[in-house]
Amino acid sequence: MTAHTSSPPFATQSFQATDLTCVRGEQTLFANLSFTLTSGECLHVRGENGVGKTSLLRLLVGLAQPEQGQVTWNSSNIKNDYEAFHQGLCFLGHRDALKEDLSALENLMMYAALGAINLSYESALQYLWQFGLRGREDLPVHYLSAGQKKRVVLARIAMQGAPLWILDEPFNALDSQGMQGFIGLLENHSSQGGITVFTGHQDINILGLKVLEL
């Protein structure tokens, strides 16, 4: 299950976190955190449960505001133009973010519309078939197994074709075959010049992977 995206390589991007401080309630989860990522780089955020990995990711996409510090995408603070930032962003949170009552195909079309992407019916099917969902495209998602739901999510990520991927625990619920497929997807993304930040307890081996221990 390799992903062959036919999209052209991304232009040079840079994603930077500067002096990020995160406070949840009374606790300071982390302070003065900085990193820089350029095209083709991949960052694995590791750490114990509760150390702030999810909070960091939510700061990076702009869902939460840091106590201090800033996040920059292509040299401009994401706060200055959220729309432009979101155009190039693909975020995966803890939940699959699929409408259970809609089919895989309908979910994909919804994401295309949300992302202002022109997606034809045929292309949507292609993406689903690429991830082994042939014959399952029209079933309401709640009929699919956890692994199959994850593959719909992968299809969505591939379809969105965004340069920046920020994924929270993407390897959950994937079997070894699924993991291989996803790693292939990640490697392809990096080779196209995309940037990835992800969290997870798993040991991942990708060429040129950076690790951040929280």
Binding site: L98, K99, L102, L114
Partner: protein
């Protein structure tokens, strides 16, 4: 505006797949209106007098029932934050959801209300006025209610808390809406009532989507 229609269509599609949720609110409306004659007595003159208030209050309560679902399902499965992270305007998406809510919860009330009105022996003029006030007023209910739904998203005791927050804000709509029908039935002029209802609708349309979007961002932080 593509995003707006997409969200309306999506929400309507989702409702069609789970019809029972919608019908519950409508049945609630019918049952509540029936409770009043049972509690007060079936004297026709009295019923005619209380009908505008009863129907309007029941409409308020039925709308509140439907509001609990407005953002909850998207919040729970994670699609709400995806909407907040999309390049499309979040305000437009929120307005789309509110519109879908009105189409599902408010518009059916307009169809049921005349039937209830007949049960309360309202004459044609009063029924017409009732329909018009509901037409102008129920969108305002959906709009204002969305603020309460957004503020209480994911909280324990959400439904009751939301009602406490939203019902005081509904009072002007109730007063002008029910008041118009009462005024019509005693032969008074109703243009004032309708102008005020219209003004409330315009104000709500202008401000509420931004307020609700801000409240949602706070809730999903």
């Amino acid at each position: 505006m593509n995003a707006f229609f997409m969200i309306v269509q999506r929400d309507l599609l989702l409702v069609m797949r789970r019809k029972s949720e919608v019908l519950t609110a409508l049945f609630f409306f019918v049952i509540v209106t029936s409770l009043f004659p049972l509690g007060i007595g079936a004297d026709t003159a009295l019923l005619r007098k209380i009908a505008p208030g009863v129907i309007w209050v029941s409409a308020l309560l039925a709308t509140l029932l439907g509001l609990q679902r407005l953002f909850a399902s998207d919040y729970l499965d994670g699609t709400l934050e995806q909407m907040a992270l999309s390049p499309r305007s979040f305000v437009v998406l929120v307005l789309g959801k509110i519109t879908a809510h009105w189409l599902v919860c408010g518009l059916p009330l307009l169809i049921l209300a005349p039937v209830i009105g007949l049960q309360f022996d309202l004459d044609t003029a009063a029924l017409e006025t009732l329909l018009l006030t509901l037409l102008l007023g129920t969108p305002v209910l959906s709009l204002i209610g969305s603020i309460g739904a957004a503020l209480t998203l994911g909280l324990r005791g959400g439904g009751a808390l939301m009602s406490l927050l939203v019902l005081p804000l509904y009072i002007p709509v109730l007063i002008f809406g029910a008041g118009a029908v009462y005024a019509k039935s005693v032969g008074l002029d109703v243009t004032g009532h309708f102008s005020l209802l219209g003004a409330l609708l315009i104000l709500a349309l202008a401000f509420v989507p931004w307020v609700s979007a801000a409240a949602l961002r706070i809730a999903i932080e």
